[in-house]
């Protein structure tokens, strides 16, 4: 019996990613005939089971396992494609499965009746396949392939409602912004290959590698840090870091279940995962850049989230902000804390989005089609806790986790990052302290804006229904509530650590060991959580006062609020500077192409054509003319002589006599 259950983790992992691929192919072949999505759901269920029992448990805390086959050969170098299973990759794969499973179940209810639902299942399976494969790829090139595939699936899903102009614009934007990052990734791959001669992860970062020992590679050191920077650019686009974050809020045009899976929990985490994978490449200065970018991202995103009116936009900005936290964690060298936060964040952010989806779902059903009211706008909500009590409870749990209240998973992971940041900064002193301080401020802002969302949506009085006994509005269906409840359970502390206030005992943190630690400062472990909790409580209290008790201090169209709501006009700035200048440049290039390059070609062509016409004339009229003249002449001569042979005896005789006559005349006149 034990032998039967003993399946090689490599094959199990392969199966984990082949199930969704098979579901994708099946759905692609069946098309509209299969709208139930049962195949995709079954595939992800099998994947989750396989990933948990045959991959995660055998590998976790054990020696890494790797298997590969040769993929293709360029010159003397053979590239291999294979699977690398270590603590990080199996954790990531399991996480993707566990997040994808509730989202699939939820989608069955949420997307019911959509005319394009067969495409939805197809894309979702494709995404799952790509993401699961990205997690376990043992080769940077293979990883890049799936990285692109993930981006492509995301593009398809953002533009799922492709008849909506905003959705089309959003998926285009996401795709183009991600391209910038992909170029970074590609340059990084090229640099690594040029200097290391291999792209295999275990050869690059394994125990035999010089990188593992942190030995500086003297002749290539500078290039390796450029490679690190290039990888970071790749991660910046995928994980929506500050200058490239613009695509993520727009990506909320996709179905909410998709936002929940892709744009909150898994795909955007791929950038952080990449940073953790190539972590040994980063040197001190690159790490500092990463930490600074992460801090800026966390701060700006939480700032923008303060005044968003769209419920999904608030969540989108909170995602960006939390991704900033993870990137800071990588930047300060605590990539294990980053991964820990990635895991906990995946659960509560997914839950937040699913709750938001439930609310939007019910709003869209309750609002009469004729009334042109945006079901996602928080200004139209209010007092929903009476109608959707379970959703309310679950969303509050997720929000508390996001805000980092004790007893939630968010508390553990967020504190681990902030404490690590403080320890890191104290070790260096001076201006470095700005980073942890900013993170603390961001935590307060996070608490405030998520509190604002809860209060605006669930408290107060319904805005659109004056009668409080309305029956149109009711709790989300069971098919949506069950996956939400599961995620809610996973947002609590005991899933990760039995000690609700100490992140160090979390099983995940012990599985991902750092090479270099910080000088632990014990007092911080007491002090920081207290500060954070106090700050968050103040944030919630402020939110309660402003939004529930109606003591809102600002005017409706306050310039500052407007500025925040418009995301500091970054989109407009990009539109003006980058998009417009690109358009002008391409128009100029088009002009050059059309008039100079094509003009030259066309000029040469018309000259050739004219010469051709002249030589054709000469050919037709002179050369052919001569030949034809000879031919015509002989033809007429023949025609003339033919008349003599007319078969008439008398004519012949006449000719004969005429000739005789000529003979006589000749003889006479001689």
């Amino acid at each position: 019996m034990t032998n039967l259950l003993h399946i090689s983790p490599i094959y199990a992992s392969l199966a984990v990613l082949l199930f969704p691929l098979a579901a994708f192919l099946y759905q692609a072949l069946r098309g509209k005939q299969d709208q139930s999505g049962i195949v995709g759901l079954l595939a992800i269920l099998l994947s989750t089971a396989a990933s948990a029992f045959f991959v995660f448990f055998p590998i976790w805390q054990q020696a890494p396992v790797e298997a590969s086959v040769s993929w293709f050969t360029v010159g003397k170098h053979t590239f291999s494609a294979g699977i690398l299973l270590n603590n990080l990759t199996v954790l990531m794969q399991l996480l993707v499965c566990i997040i994808a499973l509730p989202v699939h179940i939820y989608s069955r209810v949420y997307m019911k009746g959509d005319p394009g639902i067969h495409r939805y299942w197809m894309y979702l399976s494709l995404f799952c396949f790509a993401m699961l494969a990205l997690c376990v790829a043992n080769n940077l090139l293979l990883m890049y392939v799936f990285w692109e595939l993930v981006g492509f699936a995301s593009y398809l899903l953002i533009g799922f409602w492709f008849t909506k102009d905003a959705a089309v614009q959003a998926n285009k934007k996401a795709f183009i912004v991600n391209r910038i990052g992909d170029i970074g990734f590609l340059i990084g791959i090229a640099l690594v290959y040029a200097h290391m001669g291999t792209l295999n992860l275990s050869e690059l970062f394994g125990k035999q590698s010089p990188l593992f020992e942190q030995i500086p590679l003297w002749h290539t050191e500078r290039w390796m840090s450029y490679a690190g920077l290039a990888f970071f650019v790749g991660a910046m686009a995928k994980s929506a870091q500050f200058p490239l974050h613009v695509w993520l809020p727009d990506a909320m045009e996709g179905p909410t279940s998709v936002s929940s899976l892709i744009h909150a929990a898994t795909m955007v985490a791929a950038g952080v995962f990449l940073l953790a994978t190539v972590f040994p490449l980063f040197n001190e200065s690159i790490l500092l850049v990463i930490a600074i970018i992460g801090t800026i991202t966390a701060l700006t995103a939480s700032y923008f989230a303060l005044a968003q009116q769209d419920i999904k936009k608030v969540l989108a900005f909170s995602t960006i902000s939390q991704l900033g936290f993870m990137v800071v964690a990588v930047g300060i060298g605590a990539w294990n804390a980053a991964i820990f936060h990635l895991v906990t964040h995946a659960f509560f952010k997914c839950l937040l989005f699913l709750c938001a989806g439930a609310i939007i779902h019910e709003m869209a059903h309750a609002i009469p089609a004729a009334a042109k009211v945006d079901p996602q706008d928080m200004r139209n909500m209010g007092g929903l806790r009476r109608f959707m009590p379970y959703t309310f409870i679950l969303m509050v749990i997720a929000s508390l986790a996001l805000a980092g209240f004790p007893l939630t998973s968010g508390f553990l992971s967020k504190d681990s990052i902030i404490i690590a940041a403080f320890e890191w900064a104290v070790e260096r002193g001076g201006a470095y302290l700005i980073i942890p301080v900013v993170l603390v401020v961001v935590s307060f802002l996070t608490a405030f804006y998520i509190g604002r969302m809860i209060f605006k949506v669930f408290f107060g009085k319904p805005k659109l229904w004056s009668d409080e006994k309305v029956t149109v509005f009711h709790e989300a269906p069971k098919g949506m509530l069950i996956p939400m409840a599961f995620l809610g359970l996973c947002s609590l502390f005991f899933v990760f650590s039995f000690n609700p206030i100490s992140h160090q005992n979390a099983a995940l943190m012990q599985g991902l060991t750092l090479l270099t630690g910080f000088q632990p400062i014990d007092s911080l472990h007491m002090f920081i959580p207290i500060v954070l909790i106090t700050g968050s409580a103040i944030g919630w209290w402020l939110g309660y006062r402003w939004y529930v008790q109606g003591k809102y201090p600002f005017q409706e169209n306050n310039a500052w609020v407007q500025h925040v709501q418009k995301q500091a006009y970054i989109n407009e700035f990009y539109q003006l500077i980058i998009v417009r200048s690109t358009l002008y440049l391409s128009r100029g290039l088009y002009w050059f192409d059309h008039y100079i390059v094509d003009g030259l070609t066309n000029g040469a062509a018309s000259v050739t054509r004219a010469i051709g016409r002249i030589s054709a004339w000469i050919d037709r009229n002179l050369v052919d003319g001569l030949v034809n003249l000879v031919a015509q002449t002989s033809y007429y001569a023949g025609h003339l002589l033919r008349w003599v042979q007319n078969g008439r005896l008398q004519n012949y005789m006449g000719f004969a006599f005429t000739m005789v006559l000529f003979g006589i005349l000749y003889l006479v006149l001689r």
């Binding site: 042979q645 078969g647 008439r648 005896l649 008398q650 012949y652 005789m653 006599f657």
Partner: protein
């Protein structure tokens, strides 16, 4: 005595008439008649020159010989015309153009 020139002129005239008939007539009988005229013009020449051969009368003899030959030739010619008529249902030489290429 009539000089020989007169004979020759008459003979030439008859020959030309015969030649004309042979070339231009649309009836084979008339062509045969033209041929007879031409033979007779030749015979006339033989007789006329025969005057200078008083000893043997060679010219007279040849004339008689030629007349017999002409009679035989007419018989042959008429039979040819008859056969031609049977074959082509016409004796107009213009309509018999089998010699054409």
């Amino acid at each position: 005595m009539i000089p020989i020139t007169h004979f020759l002129v008459v003979s030439a005239c008859i020959f030309c008439i015969g030649l004309y008939a042979v070339i231009s007539k649309r009836n084979a009988i008339m062509i045969l008649v033209g041929i007879e005229l031409m033979i007779n013009a030749a015979i006339l020449n033989l007789v006329a020159f025969g005057r200078y051969d008083k000893a043997d009368y060679g010219g007279q003899v040849f004339a008689l010989f030629a007349i017999v030959l002409a009679a035989a030739a007419v018989a042959v010619g008429l039979s040819i015309i008859l056969m031609t008529y049977r074959k082509y249902k016409t004796i107009n030489p213009d309509q018999i153009t089998d010699l054409r290429d």
